[in-house]
Subunit: 145 residues, 4 copies
Amino acid sequence: MTDTATPQWPPFLSLFAQELTQNLTPKLLTQLMRSVGTQFSRQHTLHFAGTVADMQKGMNDVWRELGWGRVEIRDAQSWLVLTHHRAPLRTVFGPDNLTWAGAFLEGVYEAWMHQLGADSHLRVTAAGSVDPADPSGTMVFLFGK
Amino acid sequence: MTDTATPQWPPFLSLFAQELTQNLTPKLLTQLMRSVGTQFSRQHTLHFAGTVADMQKGMNDVWRELGWGRVEIRDAQSWLVLTHHRAPLRTVFGPDNLTWAGAFLEGVYEAWMHQLGADSHLRVTAAGSVDPADPSGTMVFLFGK
Amino acid sequence: MTDTATPQWPPFLSLFAQELTQNLTPKLLTQLMRSVGTQFSRQHTLHFAGTVADMQKGMNDVWRELGWGRVEIRDAQSWLVLTHHRAPLRTVFGPDNLTWAGAFLEGVYEAWMHQLGADSHLRVTAAGSVDPADPSGTMVFLFGK
Amino acid sequence: MTDTATPQWPPFLSLFAQELTQNLTPKLLTQLMRSVGTQFSRQHTLHFAGTVADMQKGMNDVWRELGWGRVEIRDAQSWLVLTHHRAPLRTVFGPDNLTWAGAFLEGVYEAWMHQLGADSHLRVTAAGSVDPADPSGTMVFLFGK
């Protein structure tokens, strides 16, 4: 690797996350992360999506560009289930901090849904990873009441 | 870029930095960043350095590995002047946040100096970038009393 | 004054407020104070009030008990105007911090209004003190859309 | 009690303390409180004290004025033991928050000792209350290495 390599952020971010948890509670960190997600959605706005498949494609265009994995959206009657594969949050923030770090994605998905015209009362909530021991970074979110 | 690309952090980090400045003062953020720097130095310990050139080489081994630019150390009588070229902090955190974001490097350099045996009363302080308008990310630090 | 005098808090609180502003932004402090106000309203619940005069009386029973001044409520068509006389916040927190410190009262009044059955979309906002130079601690709040 | 009664702060402070613990860690709150103590000592400076008895008297003049109980200082060879009786912190902040709230007194005592000429390396540390179940508010601090 030469001097002009792309800067790596994970070593810094991991330590920064630890320092933040030494000073701020998970409650406040969750709130900050959700807000960061909302801001992110404003910088990466989605166009109109007529179908769940369109929606998924629009979101994955953003994630692909960033190398942040991909989302799969399933319509489960009164909910949309969003399964985000290979989210990089777990690796960098650590499993202990995943609850608050994952609030970033909650914020992004909720704001995207509202951008696309969903009722402003509907919320995104984390449903936990498919398997807590799974290091792959899969995270599941529910969108609904 | 494929789905398995290396995740990019700068877009997230820039927004996270903005959110932090909305809630925490530069004073507190400076303190947190310095502490992150100290932790970083413990994860990337330097071996004995008999000369300033050795010291510089040891530090640059770490920065090269991370793609974080390179440092040049100059002995200026009662000070060591550390000029860090291409530090990625400015690009990601923005010029407005460089004072507190740069405290990360202050913390790293100070802890490294103490690891190498320097008197614990000696401190690293930022001397500002060589040219405030310079977007290259050069940051200068002084080590001394 | 003997050893068993009632402990005085203002000297401590003034310094505590200054320390908080050194570390947390007015935005975060405002949010915290509003939340403290909401909690306060839960500890000092108001009974049913059929008229504005009843409402005012219920609130002043709480403030009188605490020596926190008194509120006067005026019905101004689409708003209720709440004028809080002799609020002790200005003296203790200082004029510079009154915006965020006053969010405590915003939180109290808003939660009280909702307790009494007001539409949950209606909000309390600070209208500033009647006269910025007035040291008496009068603070005015509007309740409405 | 009339409208012009002295404002009571404990109900507000108790809720404020709870809100702070919802957002900031005990580690950060301890640091803030110590700093508040240092500032307090600058507003209530002690005059020269030739003896431990003088020192105790100077401190108790401050505490008496505020109704904050009284301190008893005992010379225990390499330590000074400061026993603060009827500190109002426990009642207001609650036993769960006493560790960080008590850092206020640590900061005050340490800064006072340094004002009086003690070696700047010597520190005040909390020794816990004499009896954890004791609601009287007695707090013990050690001053030494």
